[in-house]
């Protein structure tokens, strides 16, 4: 690989390692696995970098991270475990309704649990949209599905989250 390509890679792709790591954390639910996969994905990205000429480097890196995460899943299927329900640190709940911070914290914990419990194809679109703030087009490129599919997955993912959080349609706002 030419020296200037390595330098261009450092400049355009390496700044997005936090995004890559965030996605891997959500897809693998394990920080050590996420670290290994992000490193693997970064090196794969480097090796295919000559093929990347234009476009959004972040979305491009995320698509590689996503593929590496699923490759990882497939290879480790034998010891794939059910998601531990107490995966998220429980936050001490307060019975004092005036304790606004505690209520917000337990609300946040409930959302984290609900997101962690989503099937992969829903969780990834939620993360790509709500954290990474990618457009539908970019999400479609990352997950390799048509825009219409992205749109409906996102809507269904949000419906599931609303249900899990007890925010049904019957609930008045």
């Amino acid at each position: 690989m030419a020296q200037q390509d390595v330098e261009r890679f450092e400049r355009t792709v390496l700044p997005y390692l936090d995004d890559a790591y965030t996605l891997a954390r959500y897809l693998l639910r394990d920080e050590h696995d996420a670290q290994d996969v992000v490193q693997d994905a970064a090196l794969r990205a480097l090796r295919h970098f000559e093929g990347f000429r234009e476009g959004d480097a972040r979305a491009w890196l995320l698509s590689i991270v996503r593929n590496c995460c699923y490759t990882w899943h497939r290879r480790h299927r034998s010891n794939q475990r059910e998601l531990p329900i107490d995966h998220i640190q429980p936050i001490a709940s307060s019975t004092d309704p005036a304790d606004k911070a505690a209520i917000e914290a337990s609300e946040r914990a409930a959302i984290q649990r609900a997101i962690a419990a989503l099937p992969d194809e829903f969780r990834e679109v939620i993360v790509l949209r709500e954290i990474e703030e990618l457009s539908y087009k970019e999400i479609s490129d990352v997950v390799g599905a048509p825009i219409g599919t992205v749109m409906s997955r996102l809507a269904r993912a949000r419906k599931r989250l609303a249900l899990a959080l007890g925010r049904g349609e019957q609930e008045a706002v």
């Binding site: 480097l46 946040r108 409930a110 706002v173």
Partner: protein, 252 residues
């Protein structure tokens, strides 16, 4: 617009993904239909809660440093490295190639019957550092992690300027044994080249202006600053190493 139509488009509406015409239609419907307006408000609130509930993780410094050094080693890469291969080994392999080639040089030079000078000690330490696993004791691209790491390990708190913007990212630090004492070493990189910076209290007045020499094919710059003697060693070309020293001094 019918309610079913509106509800179907609501997510794309909230995400700003509708065409201007479609968005206008939804606008008009929401203004007229309380039921859909409520669904809209719920969706906006839900999206906000999701954003608040999600955590933006930061890749650990160690991971970033590992990736950076693997990327720097890539031009001399081993083919077909993938899952299952220790990630560190990939990076180390590139460095090993460099170390082996310098070991050849070392063997030739060794025939010379010179006693161990500080110069050869420093360069020997530099070469040793290129052997996998010897470069850094603390891996961090963050100067605020590296500097305190030296506390209590050496009797000198070395300058650890951040030189990322100058194109010399910090790789980490280690302690090494040079000239009969334990000294702090900070490690920077430029492309695949490693730069080791050694520091110890200056024993005698040395010229402030940097001295240059070459030892076993490595460029060495030695200078004194604020009572501290500093040595930078690298196989980087001399002008770039000069540039490094200049930036290092300017940022201290």
């Amino acid at each position: 617009m019918h309610c079913t139509d509106c509800l179907e488009k609501l997510d794309a509406y909230v995400d700003g993904e509708l065409s201007p015409e479609e968005a206008r239609d939804v606008d008009q419907h929401l203004a007229a239909c309380a039921e859909c307006a409520r669904a809209h408000a719920e969706l906006v609130a839900l999206s906000r809660s999701i954003k608040e509930g999600l955590v933006r993780h930061h890749a650990p410094d160690v991971l970033k440093a590992r990736i950076r050094s693997a990327v720097l080693a890539e031009p001399a890469r081993i083919p077909n490295a993938g899952f299952g291969v220790s990630r560190i080994r990939i990076a180390a392999a590139g460095i090993l190639v460099a170390a082996l080639s310098s070991a050849a040089t070392l063997a030739v030079v060794h025939e010379r019957n010179a006693g161990p000078s500080i110069e050869s000690d420093v360069v020997a330490s530099h070469i040793r550092s290129l052997i996998p696993g010897h470069l850094t004791d603390v891996v961090s691209t963050n100067q605020h992690n590296v500097k305190p790491w030296f506390n209590g390990r050496v009797d000198l708190s070395p300058a650890v300027p951040g030189l990322d913007s100058a194109g010399f990212p910090l790789v980490g630090g280690r302690v090494d044994y040079v000239g009969g004492r334990v000294v702090p070493v900070t490690v920077y990189s430029r492309r695949q080249h490693m730069i080791n910076v050694y520091a110890w209290p200056a024993e005698r007045e040395r010229a402030i202006t940097p001295e240059h020499f070459t030892e076993r094919g490595y460029h060495v710059v030695r200078w004194t600053s604020g009572g501290i003697e500093l040595w930078a060693v690298s196989d980087l070309n001399a002008p770039e190493l000069d540039q490094f020293v200049e930036r290092f001094n300017a940022s201290r």
